[in-house]
Symmetry: C2
Subunit: 328 residues, 2 copies
């Protein structure tokens, strides 16, 4: 298979009308009046963002879901995306078909299409990136810079499942040996994070600032506190963990280290956001309608660019390693 | 330096207002009424699109210029771009600064800004991609599918300089030994292709179909003939070569092989387009005003999806290898 066969036979069926059958090396799109475009780009590298030699649909799913999570955190609806693939020799026709199946499944789940991209061969590692276009009603993109002292701090879903999933995927032994259904739950969280797109209207209506948790809850809390120039007081006892993760955490002899691993592991793709206290009821009822777990985990303070974690007794807990940074 | 320092210190100064200081992992953009967005994405891999270990401004310049060439071929004006970098360990702080200087130089030359992207570390090869947004008056994007029998076939600039530049960059010996100023000319063409953005209005007004020549003149002629479902009759004697390339070509003992190398080498980033014969004068005078070389190299015929090359005596010349394809 060469790049032109791959594009014509496997990718072109995924294209929306804006993609012009992928025949033109460019997409053409007439934006709708009254909307802003929200555009985001995320890349993933073999051996960094997913294990070496993993070439199938899982990687495609994760790439799209991670980008969709960025859009969800902005309150945006996805429209279409552009895909760059640098494909290693070890990836065969079956892998390519699997990859495309992953793309198709996510497109169908969240209703958007492929608009273009670029496919090249690499003597190196599988390196993929996607650029997503989404839209919000004009002026209503949720940003990181609007948190105000007194706001509540909210979190969708659960933290730490993806971290434990990654340990399994990497073949690391967890102690004690987890139940098979817990492993399955964690790996699903790692491979198929659920972008919180359904929650976008509630976010646009009520959130003052927000982002998606990709580098780790603590690291992304720091990012939000820096851009908003506020402090975040996080109550560790209120951070939501799934039953599988609770059962692992409560059996660890080094509890604080285990807790830190969950809070700085990253790959959660949940939304951390702030909102005025008067909107508690509206937020909780919007989440409940969707069956979405939503938890208030603390309060915004005036202490600029500072994240402060407290245990159930109100004691401050300090963590060494707040999250993932690519060293260049 | 970690990814956050790199983004804050080196990339954020290149950002336009749509990039929100690169603080939000997303851009926000209010499209202008009456325009379509044209979006294109191109990737480059170390060892495939540029030589191993080349990490400086040249690579950045080429990445942007290659994408701008795509926009130029659509008749579009560039607005902003998103950059993905997978950065290998061997790339140091000086390389990163050089890379960013290359980005800045091209931004200043062609008047557009950085809107976002993603920076990650890779244990593999430098892999870069850019997604560009441009605009055209609504309904006026130039496509590949409008060529009609009887149209002229036009080409901007010269063919083959970049191919000879690449041979030098790769350290291959050219025979006979070229003059230093010829080497310089070819390497410039390879590293800094000139996107034909100034010609976009003439293209929108007069071209019936077009694309930029990246895979090689012959290969891209085939692409245009396939999408437009027409034949292209190309007069080999009319294909424009620079003085430097002429002096090389006319000294080759295997003339046809040398000619084939120039016509299938790729990396030219000139625009191949078709237009009705009645627009010859307007096209030539628009090009002349800009000091742009513009040459009619043949005619469109009714023979579907067929490219036919003829020498000065009207004899058909067949070539084996029509251009670069990534084998997957």
């Amino acid at each position: 298979m060469d790049e032109f066969d791959f594009i014509r036979d496997l990718l072109a069926p995924l294209a929306g009308p804006q993609g012009l059958k992928l025949e033109d090396d460019a997409a053409c799109f007439t934006p709708k009046n009254g909307f802003d475009l929200v555009i985001t780009k995320d890349a993933m590298v073999e051996g960094v963002h997913f294990p070496n030699g993993h070439y199938g649909g899982h990687v495609a799913e994760k790439l799209l879901r991670v980008n969709l999570s960025d859009l969800a955190a902005k309150g945006a609806r996805p429209l279409g995306y552009f895909l760059s693939l640098a494909i290693p020799k070890a990836m065969d026709a079956l892998d390519l078909r699997g990859f495309v199946t992953g793309l198709r499944d996510v497109q169908q789940s969240y209703d958007f299409t492929l608009w273009g991209g670029d496919t090249v061969a690499t003597p190196g590692l599988l390196t993929v990136s996607a650029t997503f276009l989404g839209q919000v009603p004009k002026g209503h993109m949720l940003r990181r810079n609007g948190a105000k002292p007194g706001d509540d701090i909210w979190l969708t879903g659960y933290i730490g499942d993806a971290y434990l999933g990654l340990q399994n995927v990497l073949g690391k032994r967890l102690n004690p040996v987890p139940k098979p259904e817990h492993i399955w739950h964690w790996e699903e969280a790692y491979y198929r994070p659920e972008p919180r797109l359904l929650f976008r209207k509630a976010l646009r209506a009520h959130a003052t600032a927000g982002l998606d948790v990709s580098d780790g809850l603590l690291a992304d809390a720091v990012h939000l506190s820096q851009v908003s120039q506020v402090g975040l007081n996080i109550m560790l006892g209120d951070i939501p963990f799934s039953k599988a993760t609770q059962s692992w955490l409560y059996q660890q002899s080094h509890y604080n280290e285990a807790l830190e691993a969950l809070l700085s592991g990253g790959d959660d793709y949940e939304i951390l956001f702030t909102a005025k206290t008067e909107n508690r009821g509206s937020l909780l009822s919007a989440a409940k309608k969707q069956g979405l777990k939503l938890t208030c985990i603390g309060q915004v303070t005036a202490a600029a660019a500072n994240v402060n974690c407290r245990d159930k007794n109100g004691q401050e807990v300090r963590f060494e390693n707040s999250g993932y940074k690519h060293k260049l």
